[in-house]
């Protein structure tokens, strides 16, 4: 064979660069690939598309309510009696656990006027998400809704008055149609 010896010169900087560049490419690639696998668990397009609903309000009897599910979430549309409206308006907002006046919990019609007869609220108790019971069953100590899970009482404006729930039943985003005969609720 041959006596020739080979001397190898190692360029450390060059190797480091290749190591770091390769490592960064793998990490970046893994991260980029991970995102689709995380994002696939987000609500799908059809789920998101089904996130608003038009509800006619003319058929709701006075003192009654209808309950709808939008994207699986319950909402209450209540036709309040004059006494219920008066009860909701007479409360001093500052004394409440989550201060809000009744007016702040209503949305104006297309002509800018309020319709205190119709109250739209979320149907998930703000404590742990149970569905409160209402007219026809048990309206609790304040005439609105009562959550049977852990005893939260809501008034006729959907405001928390007693029990473990921390906040009022949220008012969803909704608007009246042109003639005021229906509301469109969106998540």
């Amino acid at each position: 064979m041959t006596d020739e010896t080979y001397t190898e010169t190692v360029d450390e900087d060059r190797r480091d660069f290749i190591h770091i560049a390769a490592g960064a490419a793998v990490a970046g690639g893994a991260g980029a690939l991970a995102w689709p696998f995380i994002a696939q668990m987000l609500p799908a397009l059809d789920t998101r598309a089904a996130s608003s609903l038009e509800v006619p309000i003319t058929d709701i009897p006075e003192g009654g309510e209808i309950r709808v599910l939008i994207g699986g979430k319950p909402f209450f549309i209540r036709h309040r009696t004059a006494a219920e409206i008066a009860a909701a308006e007479s409360v001093e907002a500052g004394d409440l656990p989550d201060p809000q006046t009744d007016e702040e919990r209503l949305v104006a019609r297309a002509d800018g006027t309020l319709n205190p007869a119709i109250l739209v609220v979320s149907g998930s108790c703000t404590h742990l998400g149970c569905v409160p019971v209402g007219p026809g069953s048990n309206t609790g100590e304040f005439g609105g809704w009562y959550c049977p899970c852990h005893g939260s009482h809501y008034d006729t404006s959907g405001r928390i008055r007693k029990g473990p729930a921390p906040t009022n039943l949220p008012v969803p985003t909704y608007e009246y149609n042109a003639d005021g005969s229906a509301v469109t609720i969106s998540l």
């Binding site: 995380i38 609500p43 319950p74 998400g129």
Partner: protein, 496 residues
Amino acid sequence: MSGHESTYKPGTGIEKWIDARLPIVRLVHDSFVGFPVAKNLNYWWTFGAILAVCLVTQIITGIVLAMHYVPHVDMAFASVERIMRDVEYGWLIRYIHANGASMFFLAVYIHMFRGLYYGSYKAPREISWILGVIIYLLMMGTAFMGYVLPWGQMSLHGASVITNLIGAIPLVGEQIKIWLQGAPSIGNATLNRFFSLHYLLPFMIAGVVILHIWAFHTTGNNNPTGVDVKDEKKDTVPFHPYYTVKDGFAIIVFLMIFAGFVFYAPNVLGHADNYIEGNPLKTPAHIVPEWYLLPFYAILRAITFDIGPIPAKLGGVIAMFGAIAVLFVLPWLDTSKVRSLRYRPLARQFFLGFVAVCLLLGVAGASNPDDIVIKTGEDTLRYEVSLEEAPEALAVAEAHHGKIVSSNSERVIVDFAHYEDAVEFAEASGTTAEATVKHHGLTWLPVAQLLTFLYFAYFLIIIPLLGLIERPKDEPESIADSIHKSNGSADAVAAE
């Protein structure tokens, strides 16, 4: 899989051929046949093998159920009923699976309390213990998701309560919740992914179980004295046949109890509400998780007050996860050098107290926080009326033995001990307001709060302190020594 020298001797040519290429027979032999085990293990040590049987049972019955179950909100409930009624032996397989979950947790709790009592979590077995806690966490996740699959009322609303907990995390909680649910609420997307993960997690458990066994086969099993093996000849016996037979006997007894539930009380551990199809518009009156999660549910609900900047709801979630997290650091919280509580008389008392606290937390979790534990007086009827409606209310109340609790210029609250008095009061004052029944006594809430405090105090105060102040009894010289002593002298037997 063991730190111990291999005792496997391939006999035939085929065995030698395999052993040179894939020594799997050697691995099994060294792990479960020739593996030396302390000779003094008692029946509390059989729960490891019992748990292996539970896992295999759940996987086999689960695979079968998945052949018939339909993970869709419109069909899930009906498909489970079809399994119960129409699928050949479907009722049996489903009842084994459903009760198997309970038996699995029963066994794992005994296994964990055994580890606590005999100090199996201490050096050098910290990693075995931590892997065990990971298995326990995976079990809870698997059980929770499995409970959602039948899509009954308790499935749906239980899942809703638990996923809402995630919403308590500040800033990102709501987004994470929606991401987990795959929709604004629990729905078909949630059911699908829970089914997928419920199928996956048991195999992850099986993987961690292998690591768990590997870890304590490296350190060697703990034993009731907590004393290390000093002389393998004197202190140990091979796993087979000594412990295969002992474990086998325990498994048979355990399976008899298991069968008792499956055949005679298959629904006693479940909730009737879950035989009503899930309805997102109607919440069951009393949402409770399965029995094995009740202590944590009690801890969750015990935090009803804000802790500094942490709101009560988040505080409850932190306490609940903290109750499990504390188990991870237990090996470093214990300051005692003695492993087994046999030689720690003071620690033993506290341990028994801790077991009682855990059981009572379970009862608290099953109870409504406002229910009365200890009654201090008769129920009264409470009237709350405006004075404008009933100007003479005060006078009437006094006239009818009512007790005025408080009154201001507008409202008066009157408590009555007898229903008749309340009716008379209502008629006389001309009000129609309904009376509410008021109970008098100690409610579950403060009890659950005390128990929660004791649970954490055991790990964070008592265990660290005991090791410093307690004077333990003398440990035996060796495992063999402990056996000879207890066989040899009546005194030693009595002292056990």
